[in-house]
């Protein structure tokens, strides 16, 4: 392990981290702008042109507000909750390949923080940890609304994790690898994208991604009309900010994951036919990847302002009685299809 390697990784981690935070910050503005657009109004436009300074104002405000820890709360856990939520949100992006390798001088720099051969399992582990932040915060608040929100969040995310895991299994049968780097590298060009091989699997994964990130129509853990603020009712100042931030970062990471495993990641059509040098292909690839991610983030927002929220029993029925059998059927279909293809073609 040489020193240059550690420096390189730290620079990459900081860059990815800053990009994640900026995208998360501007997602809050984008969400309000999209809401304004969908409801035929302007949205925030006072801070800077088109309101581009709005996220900075909001962030600053979070820092300078008073933090209140209710008298009945369990103080250590109350503070641990949002910290854990932001940490789990931020570490998920470690295994996502942002692009191919860049060659700087005679050094090959991989645009992926950690190339582990169980990349997908790592992401699942991190997603599963995400529920602790919410559960701890909701329980520690000692507020009935918070506890209800936390229990709902826990139940919902574990239910949808099952269908998510099953939908990924069908994908793994196609890719034969758990390493995200390999999965993306296989999807060269346009026809090799996994979405063409796994349309049903992608649909299941997409629905589960909405449920795991607690986005509308699955935002029952924090639905304002029933539970005030849900699990973060008692939170104020930056602790509330960290919860909101972690939600937007989760949305970014799951968009990146979907773009990477189903929509070819950094691959774009005719990437090797344009006669560009390897570094240029990498740079364009990174841009293409981010365009795909932003398209997914927009889709998340579009759905939010289009669909109403589910009722809790409808949500559970969808997760258990619809998605799990559907995902199992998808595995069986994929298996039969691959066997037939290997036998006869």
């Amino acid at each position: 392990m040489e020193f240059a390697f550690i420096i390189e990784k730290f620079i990459l981690i900081i860059v990815v981290f800053v990009i994640t935070l900026v995208i998360a910050m501007y997602s809050t503005l984008a969400e309000r702008k999209v809401a304004g657009f969908m409801q035929d109004r302007l949205g925030p436009d006072r801070a800077g042109i088109f309101g581009i300074l709005q996220p900075l104002c909001d962030g600053g405000k979070f820092f300078f507000k008073e933090e209140i820890i209710p008298a009945g709360a369990h103080r250590p856990l109350f503070i641990l909750g949002p910290t854990l939520a932001i940490i789990t949100a931020c570490i998920g992006s470690a295994v996502i390949p942002w692009g191919q390798a860049l060659t700087i001088g005679d050094r090959v720099v991989e645009l992926q923080v950690a190339d582990v051969n169980v990349g997908i399992l790592y992401i699942f582990g991190v997603v599963a940890l995400g529920v602790y932040g919410i559960m701890l915060g909701g329980w520690a608040s000692n507020n009935k609304f918070s506890l209800m929100g936390a229990v709902r969040a826990a139940s919902q995310s574990i239910s949808y994790e099952l269908a998510m895991g099953l939908s990924i299994i069908a994908l793994l049968m196609v890719t034969q690898s758990l390493s995200l780097k390999e999965i993306v590298a296989q999807q060269e060009g346009f026809v090799n994208w996994n979405i063409w091989a796994q349309p049903l699997g992608f649909l299941i994964f997409l629905i589960c991604a909405f449920a795991e990130t607690n986005r509308v129509p699955f935002d029952l853990p924090e639905c304002e009309t029933e539970l005030v603020g849900g699990y973060h009712t008692e939170y104020s100042s930056m602790k509330l900010g960290l919860y909101m931030f972690s939600e937007y970062i989760n949305m970014f990471v799951s968009s990146a994951l979907m773009a990477a495993i189903y929509f070819g990641g950094y691959n774009f059509p005719f990437m090797y036919d344009l006669g560009l040098s390897a570094n240029w292909i990498t740079i364009i690839g990174v841009f293409v990847f981010f365009i795909k991610i932003i398209a997914f983030i927009f889709f998340f927002m579009w759905i939010r302002w289009t669909l109403p929220r589910f009722r809790y029993d409808q949500l559970m029925n969808l997760g258990w009685k619809m998605l799990i059998p559907l995902a199992l059927a998808n595995i069986a279909l994929t298996g039969v299809f691959i066997i037939l293809k290997d036998k006869f073609f």
Partner: protein, 126 residues
């Protein structure tokens, strides 16, 4: 598989770096807001918010068993799902025999699934 991915613990080291960076960010922001925010405490402000009504009892009291039921069922099914990962990655090598064996496994899983639905373990509206 012909392309052997060398898996040493060194591959996981950058993940540790990222955890350190993320934890540093989280802890710093919490400490900074704690230091620079105003601190005016009153009894009413510190009581938990229940829509302006006087707080009744403690929040940590028994709640619906259904949530626990879901948690227990999740553990069972999640382990079965995890069993399928190694099979899926090596699916092409196992070929048709592997597929038939997995159908048997999935059949058993489905039997259990039908059983819990028939037992109404997942019914929420009663």
């Amino acid at each position: 598989m012909e392309t052997e991915v060398i898996n040493s613990s060194a591959n996981y080291l950058p993940i540790l770096f990222q955890i350190i960076v993320a934890a540093g960010f989280g802890v710093t922001t919490i400490v900074v807001t704690h230091l620079i925010g105003p601190k005016v405490r009153t009894e009413n402000k510190l009581s938990s918010f229940e829509s302006g009504i006087e707080v009744v009892g403690n929040a940590r009291q028994p709640f619906s068993i259904k949530y626990f039921m879901v948690a227990i069922l999740f553990v069972i099914f999640d382990i079965e799902v995890i069993f399928m990962y190694p099979w899926a990655v090596n699916f092409r090598e196992f070929g048709i025999n592997g597929l038939i064996e997995m159908f048997v496994f999935m059949g058993l899983l489905l039997l259990g699934f039908i059983y819990i639905i028939k037992k109404k373990a997942l019914n929420w509206d009663e």
